[in-house]
Symmetry: C3
């Protein structure tokens, strides 16, 4: 009788397991949802996840930031992306599409991870890894818009090959990328490298020192950056700018930029600073454009969480709220970009500009983030009759 | 020995559970596929689902509907979308991309649901909630194209903030949205509200009465609607139209529209009617454009299913076939749009127009729907030499 | 006591099942990830899977292939796509978006499978099924670019209705498709059919003989194909071309093309050959354009795997590596396209051209593929001053 009971108990369990059972035909799986979704095999061999984000911004700006010096305001998608990522054994990939405008590929790359964490090889459209703030995901930058020099010296995401790695002590990356195609249909290339040392790192707190270099052929003879605010959907806020044109066409040349980085995370406090310098030698013309800039930023997470940091990329990650009421962060930043060039052939707008940005972020779970920034901008020379402006910038971020 | 048997039975079960096991590292999960996919935690805290649809249409139209009065025909994607939706605790989001043309964001919004179903706050690109037919998903409208007045008075999907809710008795929504950007880069706004009362609602059958209002600054001085058929991929079917232009440019003005709604679901029978009236005061010109329209529609689900209805949005949802052979629905609609304007500066095409639409829908599971409509259109004044036309419109809909 | 033990064992199992349990509210599910993801019910009634791919290419080409006869080189996304597929009972669908450029719908179709594998009905944007190489997925073609005649006689993916099926002995397809819209907004149609016989098929090895035919109204008076290399992101490699224009505009006409196919798979060896012939009768003009072409290709999988083959579509599928070190394949192809036309009104570039292509493929798991091709092209007449050229083409393919 006990056997019968046992048998029926086992049978009952088996039935229970069979009604509504979810199985995998190979390795065991772990599935997660936290508003997004991921699946992975427990043996670590395979994974897959859809990804997406939108950054819905509101801008209200005036003075030197606004075309014509008038007020401007807009509400629009600063970024919206959908895509997929996954891995099979030693191959990891991402493919992400930018939705705004008429759409574009954000990234599409394959990383070979089989040589260990000190030597990842990434092929495809990706970040070049030049600059700490540039390398920090737009989901995780503290301010709403990156600093003046990070914008002016941005390398963007390009098709190329990059070797990169990192351990607790240091991170590096070196790559060659497509910068552009010249007028004879041939590749213009960029070579970009970066090293980061961590004199102190305890798994959370970190002291970060870094340097980067990029040399680019076929680069537009143009350094520019908007003054801390994008200026709505059309992105038409005024720019600090130095460029060289003939008959309305921007010429191209060889560009060489380098930077220095320092960053610190100590519990809820974090700060970072970068210095950039660069010059563009215009092809076949006796013209060189110089640019220089820096920023200094400090932030504090009022609810006590520590801002994240990735040794793999040598960059900040996000703030994860420790409890359900979310996390609050305040920050301030000063940045400056100097485009003073004595050559009268170079058209310069604003010459030297700087902005003060103060802001507050609210992190409601990992899915949702809200930011509010106030920006004050000054320029040495008038742009559209103004040398000073103010902006309010707000963002709703959803990222899964 | 029985212990051994038990132990081995338990061991066997444990093994069975371990080979091909699917687990979650937190709360329990429920996963569904019915051709699409969704995952949710059983505690209700998290969910995620990819979504998509395509509406593949065939049009054959002539007379007043066709440019030049000739016949026209086309087969093309009227709509195709992919996206994701999900929620984490009290935050729900959707991000959906329109694929046709060069692509565009359909919706991207976050809804805060923490104040209960009577006070949802939605931020982002979304419907403004003006008009019953406009608010009913394009997957669920009974006809293939919405009525003349629903098209002419459409507010579209816009970036904004909307407070909305509903219970069995009534639904409401009130929001402020970006209507456009003026020529000085400043936001032109729209404020839109709607209330719906349900004198009768038993969870399925419903008697619905509603009213809406929208006021919009920077609105194009243009009321228009195609005559019940889109006219192929290029959307070039003729339009009933009243607009004000100077030197070929449509001016802008303040637009005020309001509507009344009535709807009824009684078992397999459903009907709906809306009346719209609006006017546009052109900025800085002594010009006002008037428009007025209405429609009356009745449908019957031959296989006995009841058309769905959502009290949250105060709008129709779809017909779910009760058995595997699918559901059949027939309907008829009369609609009218009156753009008669006495001001000779206003260019008017067609003046007053109306269409009769009859059609049949087949719902094969929730994934697939097929519709066939016949449309007869009449106008008071000739458009391209014609005041009468006929169209056959067919649709294959796949929605997951 | 044994009862107690039993009960506690059962309780323990029940608890184990409840912590981290994943269930489905209906039929049992099978979930898979191999870098991608799929879910299906074990009863076969439902399934769903996201899909995606990117083909990242590098081109270096010169001589007759290059505009101006100069060298050209580029690295870019030849293809990048994301989408979804699934099925519910007898309805299967796919919806896939092309990401490069400003984006476009790749496919969006519904297949009714309820009549069995010999009579599938597919409605929507799809391949027309004309030509073996054209019908083989771009993920699975042996070379990086399809042959000259496959390109010149390509029907592309079009909106239409196709009946198709296949068993071990033969496959067929017949469909009617939208070719274009004429200048009076009316559909120009194409009718396309194909039959394939398999005198030998043992489930892996196959001997394949096929023929196809397509007649198209409103077709551009233009046969053309690039010379085995695309020529970078802009696709500006030179083309073999015969076309008829008036005042710079390509006229349209009736196009009739047919082909013959032969293919063989014997263990790791596979070969294929196709012959194409076609002509375009220009509407209302005494002008007929002729074209003819063929290719012969042979490949060998060095690691012993057999190239796949689908009897449903009558086309090759891919090479699946048998072990973790991946699979290697070599191949060679000769192709020729003859656009010699005696009518002096027809502008002909290159007249007759052929290419030799040799290449090697590495398949690392099913997710990743790498290909390297060398192409030598010759033309009868100079294009841009050259009648000979060489190219190196490399591809990184990620497909999930």
């Amino acid at each position: 009788m006990k056997k019968t009971l046992l048998a029926s108990a086992v049978a009952a369990l088996a039935f229970q397991a069979s009604a509504g059972t979810v199985t995998h035909d190979g390795a065991d799986l772990v599935i997660k949802t936290n508003g997004g979704f991921s699946v992975a095999t427990t043996d670590g061999n395979f994974s897959f996840a859809p990804t997406g984000r939108f950054h819905l911004d509101y801008n209200d700006y005036d003075g030197v930031m606004a075309p014509g010096g008038d007020d401007g305001s807009d509400a629009w998608f600063r970024r919206a992306r959908i895509g997929f990522k996954g891995h099979a054994y030693d191959f990891a990939y991402q493919l992400v599409y930018n939705l705004p405008g008429s759409g574009s590929i954000d990234v599409g790359f394959l990383t070979y991870t089989g040589w260990g964490k000190m030597a990842n090889l990434t092929i495809g459209q990706q970040k070049e890894n030049f600059g700490l703030e540039e390398l920090t995901s737009s989901n995780n930058i503290t301010s709403i818009e990156r600093s003046l020099p990070s914008s002016a010296f941005s390398t963007g995401k390009n098709v190329g090959v990059k070797l990169h790695g990192g351990n607790d002590l240091f991170s590096y990356s070196i790559g060659v990328f497509k910068n552009d195609i010249d007028d004879e249909n041939e590749l213009d290339e960029a070579v970009t490298g970066r090293v980061v040392f961590r004199p102190y790192y305890n798994g959370g707190d970190v002291f970060h020192l870094g340097a980067g270099y990029t040399m680019r052929s076929g680069a537009d003879a143009d350094y520019n950056a908007r003054l801390g605010v994008r200026g709505g959907d059309a992105g038409n806020a005024n720019r600090l700018r130095a460029r060289y044109r003939e008959d309305g066409t921007v010429l191209v040349g060889d560009r060489d930029d380098w930077n220095l980085e320092a960053a610190l995370i100590m519990g809820p406090f974090h700060m970072s600073a970068e210095y950039f310098q660069g010059e563009i030698d215009v092809d076949d013309r006796p013209v060189t454009i110089d640019a220089e800039g820096y920023y200094l930023q400090a932030g504090y997470v009022l609810t006590g969480e520590r801002r994240g940091y990735s040794t793999g990329s040598g960059a900040f990650s996000g703030v994860k709220p420790a409890n359900e009421s979310g996390a609050w962060e305040v920050f301030a930043r000063y940045d400056s970009l100097d485009l003073d060039n004595s050559n009268p052939l170079i058209s310069v707008a604003g010459e030297q500009g700087d902005t003060w940005t103060v802001g507050i972020n609210y992190y409601a779970k990992s899915l949702v983030r809200v930011g509010l920034n106030y920006v004050r901008a000054n320029t040495d020379e008038n742009i559209a009759g103004e040398d000073r402006g103010d902006a309010i910038v707000a963002r709703l971020q959803v990222a899964f």
